[in-house]
Symmetry: C2
């Protein structure tokens, strides 16, 4: 029995859904509306003290952190395998998995908030800005950067620094694909591809696909292959209960592959 607590457009939730789809697993959906504060209820905090999505519950036992969830799924449901056998290749894979869980998450998150989520939130909470900030401050952790992003206060230097980190990640992908010859990041399809896929999709919706379409041809071809996978299409097609998709959150640009 597999249950997933997730939010339809959250990059980390998409990551878990891709792994579930690649394994052909059935799961029960619990949609957590993170913009309504569902992640701050005592019930959810008991499952996930970090107050973030996703959380996988397998036979009643919770597993948090999308990077951990996808490794767990691959170990418990080994067919098809999504981890290379060679230890050095596994290390290379885990660098991508980690990168998807920290740098990419943090910096694409910041640019997402700055360009789309922030303006949307300010529009929705117009006249109640203090309530919006109080809501953000209820979330655990250091929210200083997030608050500044929501307020539209990030400087050009901060935005540039975020994209510089994203470019480092894209360069690593281009180098891996070129040196190893593909077709996937580590050779065979693996958790490395799954870990970065949702971030690439978000970048595309932020209008940043030019970063690979114009400059990193191996990544561009990899991304086409990625979007042709049924599991990827299935994971991205999940919609919230009201059926309102990417247009609603200001991410209207359609992926190039659809």
């Amino acid at each position: 029995m597999l249950e997933l607590y997730h939010y339809w457009s959250s990059v980390c939730s998409v990551k878990a859904r891709i792994a579930l789809a690649e394994k052909g697993l059935d799961w029960t959906s619990h949609h957590v509306d993170i913009f309504a504060g569902d992640q701050l209820t005592p019930e959810y905090l008991a499952l996930n003290p970090n107050a973030v999505v996703p959380t996988l519950v397998h036979d009643g036992r919770p597993i948090i952190e999308s990077t951990v969830i996808i490794e767990y799924l691959d170990e418990v449901f080994p067919d098809p395998p999504l981890t290379p056998r060679d230890p050095y290749d596994r290390a290379l894979m885990r660098i991508f998995v980690k990168n998807g869980g920290d740098d990419l998450l943090q910096f694409i998150g910041l640019t997402s908030i700055d360009r789309y989520i922030g303006p949307k939130l300010r529009q929705r909470w117009k006249g109640h800005e203090a309530d919006l900030e109080a809501f953000i401050n209820r979330k655990p952790g250091n929210r200083a950067m997030q608050l500044r992003a929501v307020r539209g206060q990030l400087t050009r230097e901060e935005i540039n620094a975020a994209y510089a980190r994203i470019d480092v990640a894209l360069d690593r992908m281009e180098k891996m694909l070129t040196q190893r010859g593909g077709p996937w990041l580590i050779g065979d399809y693996s958790l490395a591809d799954i870990a970065v896929a949702p971030h690439m999709h978000r970048l595309e919706r932020l209008g940043e696909a030019k970063r690979w379409e114009q400059k990193r041809p191996a990544v561009a071809k990899w991304y086409e292959r990625l979007n042709a996978r049924p599991a990827i299409q299935k994971a991205f097609s999940f919609l919230p209960p009201d059926g309102k998709g990417y247009e609603e959150v200001g991410l209207a640009a359609a992926p190039a592959s659809t």
Copy 2:
């Protein structure tokens, strides 16, 4: 042939040294003076494009990220094993490993800079503050929070939020040790213990051992057991080439166990 590029007091470097010591492995040391900018040379960036320590080089092949390095060492040198066999226990272990590589690193890092490293740097670079900021800005990534910490500009709210996250991690440790009965976080000694050990040591040197000595008795006993391990003592006893230790960086408080 194992080589480690590391800095003596860096928490992530200590983590790699603990894993090497637990496995009884010999390795060649390359000390990277991160305060002198050694991590920004083209030679080092070719090994580690993130410009951070440590980097492990095994038979000529570099492995970056301390969380990835310790899993790699455990896979390649399986004796003694440092990973549980049960997949759910492995997931629990990886949550601690991840936590040591993000939340704990980020928030203990901020409080370290605010209380010790920042004042020391301001003293050393007195009259050359612009050069200090230029040096910090040469490092990749979004350095806004780090710059504010170096300037002593973090607010009480930001510091409190950082300690709140640290407390969440300590609570998780207390809960694991209590529920599972120890003696180590997941039961047997594992990468989970290694991943958080350097952070606990840093917290102690920041004068924050009261967080477990007064409130979390299972963590307090675990920390005593930890410090009794020869590999832990060996990893923490590594000194820089000039032989100047913790006193030099303003972290003079001796661990309770020594």
